[in-house]
């Protein structure tokens, strides 16, 4: 203790050391290795050597452009759907939940406590070909008589939307819950209609929640491969599926590493575009 008294400035660094060292060695260093690996060339049989092989990136983009595009398309649609589904729901909890708010919140996060793979597999039961959902959709003509939902993009997007919806709903709830009810009263006093009060008070004040929820939903969705694997077919495969199979099945490390970096770069680019639209200060909070 007396050592710490004499060197008070050291305390924060000692507190940080174990955790930050862990993150540095097992998060930053691996990213460095991944970058190194992405510039290697060779084959599984002959081994891979480092050759500044930037062509890996170009090859990956041109070969898997379809999967990359699909990842961002599916993730984008799923994010918008998650926002549309969860906004009215958390609005209801925040403004009409009364003293049961926290229990309603538990209902929202409840799906997260069912093992990810198992709750995705549950959609196999729900969307099964002879099941009630498909029959109902066929009856109202949304699905052709011999059509199905499983093994289509619809099933994959539905799975992604469902799996990441709580990540959209929670930050949304936090921002709506913090809104001071007196602001809405003030809007009413100033003769704003309900609609105007919503559009000009509630919605702007919930913007930080929308931004945070969008990030928390879109990033994992773009890198997901489980929904496409379990609910889709190779025709719905996303970039995550390619990375996964190249890494673990085909042992094509350079291509898989390059694709990983392309995925990260594209996510970052999407975030920057998004930041331009919503304003940087909101993104960094």
């Amino acid at each position: 203790m007396s050592f710490l008294h004499r060197h008070k400035g050291l305390t924060p660094y000692l507190l940080l050391l174990p955790g930050i060292a862990w993150l540095a060695v097992f998060f930053l260093v691996p990213l460095g290795f991944l970058g190194y690996q992405s510039l290697e060339s060779g084959s599984f049989e002959s081994g891979y050597t480092f050759t500044w092989s930037f062509s890996n990136y170009w090859d990956a983009i041109t070969t898997y452009d379809e999967q990359l595009l699909r990842s961002f398309l599916y993730a984008g649609i799923a994010t918008i759907l998650a926002l549309a589904v969860s906004y009215p729901l958390v609005y209801w909890i925040a403004f009409r939940g009364g003293r049961w708010k926290n229990l309603f919140l538990i209902l929202i996060v409840a799906p997260l406590f069912v093992t990810y793979l198992v709750r995705t597999l549950a959609w196999l039961n729900i969307l099964a070909d002879e099941g009630p959902v498909v029959s109902a959709f066929q009856a109202i003509g949304l699905v052709a008589e011999d059509g199905r939902l499983l093994a289509t993009g619809i099933a994959v997007v539905a799975g992604i939307t469902y799996n990441f919806l709580p990540f959209m709903a929670l930050p949304l709830y936090v921002s709506l819950e913090q809104i001071d009810a007196r602001l809405l009263e003030a809007a009413e006093d100033l003769y704003a209609s309900k609609r105007q009060a919503f559009l000009r008070v509630t919605l702007p004040l919930s913007a930080p929640g929308i931004v945070a929820g969008t990030l928390l939903t879109f990033i994992p969705a773009a890198g997901d491969f489980i929904n496409a694997q379990l609910l889709g077919t190779p025709r719905q495969s996303m970039v995550g599926n390619v990375i996964q199979s190249k890494f673990l099945e085909l042992i094509d490390y350079p291509a898989a590493a390059a694709l990983s970096f392309i995925l990260m770069a594209l996510i970052l680019a999407a975030l920057l575009v998004y930041a331009r639209i919503v304003g940087t200060e909101r993104l960094t909070g």
């Binding site: 203790m1 305390t11 924060p12 660094y13 507190l15 940080l16 174990p18 955790g19 930050i20 862990w22 993150l23 097992f26 998060f27 930053l28 691996p30 990213l31 290795f33 991944l34 690996q37 589904v85 009215p88 729901l89 609005y91 209801w92 009409r96 229990l103 309603f104 209902l107 929202i108 996060v109 409840a110 406590f113 069912v114 093992t115 990810y116 793979l117 198992v118 709750r119 597999l121 549950a122 196999l124 039961n125 729900i126 469902y162 309900k194 990033i219 994992p220 491969f225 489980i226 990375i243 996964q244 890494f247 673990l248 490390y253 898989a256 590493a257 990983s260 995925l263 990260m264 996510i267």
Partner: protein, 282 residues
């Protein structure tokens, strides 16, 4: 008009809750199914057999035990490391604070598949055999950030006057930390640990990359999904779900009761000076 709108929204909320809970109910329901063949997709009849013989499928018991072991050790390690980081960030001014914040934030905003792939590259290059140890390393790495965020939120609202009071009464820094700071932080640390445990036991993607031949419960499900998923998988998932929900509901009820008690024991009309009720956010 308002009446209609109010009830329209309530109706929507009920529908949305049904949507959220439908797959959960399917998982629970099909844990009681008695499938005719190998596939557990169609309802055939009610049975308790799967719950009684939850480990009748070869490998499932080992997988569950492995998942629990990994979740326990990595949660403990990550909770300690994360709490220390949170203490440093909130309590101290030091050079490199921004870098630390970014480093904590980054793993949470990196797709899991990239985390898994990059760790595997590290282990391959360092010639580390993947297995229990590498899963532990990976889980601690991705849980730490969530612990930091959870504990930090609580530390910012922390009333430092209590610590000052302890020091005024002659306690040294270590005694103050042990007798005042730690007990007051305990709820935040506990919820961080519970979150970490839930994340660890549910993780598939990162584990899949760094597991080697070790099988956790999610990896077992993945393997089973290629052939046929036995109802016992639903039993385990349902059990994890029920325990988690029990914990959460207990936590909420406990908080509600604590809040009510605090309100009842404190004279409501007593004006609290602003400085006292709201300690400066660090």
């Amino acid at each position: 008009m308002t009446w209609i709108r109010r009830h329209l929204l309530t109706g929507y909320a009920i529908l949305a809750f049904c949507y959220l809970l439908l797959p959960v109910s399917v998982v629970l329901l099909f844990s009681f199914n008695a499938p005719a063949g190998r596939f557990n997709y169609v309802w055939e009849g009610f049975t308790f057999d799967n719950w009684v013989h939850w480990d009748a499928v070869p490998g499932i018991r080992d997988a569950v035990v492995k998942s629990l072991e990994i979740a326990i050790v990595s949660t403990i390690a990550a909770t300690v490391l994360g709490t220390l980081i949170a203490l440093a960030i909130v309590r101290h001014r030091f050079r490199g604070r921004g870098v630390v914040n970014v480093l904590v934030f980054l793993p949470m905003s990196t797709p899991e598949i990239v985390l898994g792939a990059s760790l595997l590259t590290l282990f391959i290059n360092a010639r580390v055999v993947t297995g229990f140890l590498t899963i532990f390393i990976a889980h601690v790495m991705f849980i730490v950030s969530y612990v930091v965020v959870t504990v930090k939120a609580r530390l910012i609202d922390f009333d430092r006057h209590l610590e000052e009071a302890a020091m005024d009464l002659g306690a040294n820094e270590w005694v103050t930390f042990r007798k005042v700071t730690l007990p007051l932080l305990a709820p935040a640390i506990l919820s961080a640990a519970l979150l970490g445990f839930a994340l660890s036991i549910d993780d598939f993607v990162i584990t899949y990359f760094v597991a080697g031949s070790t099988t956790t419960f999610p990896l077992f499900v993945w393997g089973a999904a290629r052939v046929a998923v036995p109802p016992q998988v639903n039993v385990i998932a349902s059990a994890i779900f029920l325990v988690s929900v029990l914990f959460m509901v207990g936590n909420v009820l406990w908080a509600v009761r604590a809040a009510r008690r605090a309100r009842e024991s404190m004279p409501a009309a007593l004006p609290v000076p602003d400085q006292l009720s709201r300690p400066e956010a660090a």
